[in-house]
Symmetry: C2
Subunit: 332 residues, 2 copies
């Protein structure tokens, strides 16, 4: 990878310091890294480039009272990488744009950068570039991620008869957020679910290799709301079973099962995946996910003719569930 | 190009409205546009992908008192596209992330989007995605652009003996900004230079086709500062001649030539290009730029052994020039 020197001056010293805190890595896909007018990448000849951006705005997506700066940086990158997972893409690189208010010192910026770098390294993703600015207000982070896939999986391929499966367990991040909102300290496991979300990049590629995946989405806004995206994009009805929603351990056995379900299907930011797969095609992937990655794969429903999302309870009767918050912060 | 439907709800209505205001265009490079978890593009098999991000933050990069919302959106996109020009790349698409404070109504958001769309159309660039959010403070826009080039041109290829050339004329945008800063209304031509910058995308490709371009950079921070980037990246000395700097028409014949020069070489946001080319290789491109695009190409100096940037005056003596503002807003 070629790298380019920037001129001297405090602005560029700051950029160099941030690039250092993020850390660099060699990648055969990256021909030119940060430092020039733009970065240059080249994916395999049979691959397409997959790209997505994700904003994280202070007071909207996070609060500095709840999280360390390191965790704020980590989550901003994880949230963007999760969109690559939802396409079944392998990550290549990221552009990180950060605006910080003048009252925050340079160490704060380096802490944000260090958290971003930790998440990039965890998922073998290179820094490609970005931008830095002062902000006369909140911290604003915009992360653009680029990946590559031979056959990117959209939201629009679900068909009548497909099975619906979910990775992992849901509601941990929402439980942590509801604790903070009530001025309580969340317990360690849910706090970790919120602070260090695990975009399911490797899991998604295993699923695409081993199962016949027709449609996929990451659960950034909550299972109920994100299921509606697959229904709308594919022109089908998703029949979802409340009894089969995999609850985060901290929600299991709650005395109020409706409240637990509301957190699991209405709360966002779990960054698990919802998939529509051909009937009977997921068994192999499920076994491997469990044995190699210790990640559950749970069938939560099936695709039928019709439109929208129908939730049914244990006795097969229709149930109302919360469809996630409309926070004017949805991604692309 | 495949496009994907999003579910209903006010958040997604807002996204649909913004996508409508930006406008869509068909492109053979774009396999999947906005609406899914990510966009999918595929450049030609002999091309590399070129990518860059650019932040525009209210009160740092622009003021709503100076510009219409439409112009704010236009400039944010133009500024990012200029980085593709500096690589000699053809533009493919853009991801537009916008955070707006709650006091601004939806029409404002649509006006920003409309200005962004106008700039995208002018340069045949497709909307790929992005993100929307509330902001508890300033308007923040982050634009990521993707393009493709067979041989992207970096800043690091300038060699001893190369000629240094600049496109267009410099200082118009800086003159408009200095008028606003003094509570004056800038004259129409300089106002337009600031509001509707023209990233030199077509010009750059013509130059790369017709001249032997070794290094290139766009003048976002000002000629003096950006020349230092080429010097640092290439490990050479740029010998620049103050007498040959092409001044914006509004600066020609000023009674204070030093002040005019300061605006032309110290002021940013002209988005012209500085190129290092093999000696004698620019004549053809210069003629075509003038006849086909009505754009000047002016030699402003040459590359020598050494380090840094040296400015010389009419009699060949060294001159001090301002090296641009360090606004903590530099791009990558």
């Amino acid at each position: 990878m070629r790298s380019v020197s920037m001129r001297s001056g405090p602005e560029f010293d700051r950029i160099r310091s941030v690039i250092g805190a993020i850390g660099s890595r060699e990648s055969p896909d990256v021909l030119l890294g940060p430092g020039d007018d733009a970065a240059v990448i080249q994916a395999g000849s049979e691959e397409s480039i997959v790209v997505s951006s994700d904003l994280s705005v202070e007071h909207v997506h996070f609060r500095r009272e709840w999280l360390t700066w390191d965790a704020i940086g980590f989550r901003a990158v994880a949230s963007a990488l999760s969109d690559l997972a939802a396409m079944g893409a392998r990550p290549i690189g990221a552009l990180l744009s950060v605006a910080v208010p003048p009252e925050l010192d340079l160490r704060t910026l380096d802490e944000i950068a260090s958290g971003m770098g930790a998440c990039l390294r965890e998922h073998e993703t290179s820094l490609l570039g970005g931008d830095l600015s002062r902000s006369p207000g909140p911290v604003v982070i915009d992360v653009t991620v680029l990946g590559a896939a031979r056959h990117p999986v959209g939201r629009d391929g679900a068909r009548d008869g497909d099975e619906l499966w979910v990775t992992g367990r849901l509601g941990g991040a929402a439980l942590a957020a509801s604790a903070w909102a009530g001025d309580l300290e969340p317990e360690a496991a849910t706090r970790r679910a919120f602070e260090r979300p695990k975009p399911r990049l490797r899991e998604a590629r295993l699923l695409c290799d081993r199962a016949e995946v027709h449609a996929m989405i990451d659960l950034s806004d909550g299972l109920a709301g994100d299921a509606e995206h697959i229904a709308a994009a594919s022109g089908v009805c998703l029949l979802m079973e409340t009894e089969n929603v995999p609850l985060h351990r901290a929600l299991e056995g709650w005395s109020d099962p409706a409240a637990a379900l509301a957190l699991a299907v209405g709360g966002g930011e779990d960054y698990e995946l919802l998939l529509a797969v051909a009937p009977g095609s997921a068994a192999d992937a499920r076994r491997l996910l469990s044995s190699e990655m210790s990640v559950d794969l749970t069938q939560v429903g099936r695709v039928t003719e019709g439109r929208g999302v129908r939730w049914v309870g244990g006795e097969g009767s229709d149930v109302d569930v919360p469809t996630g918050f409309d926070h004017f912060g949805g991604g692309a």
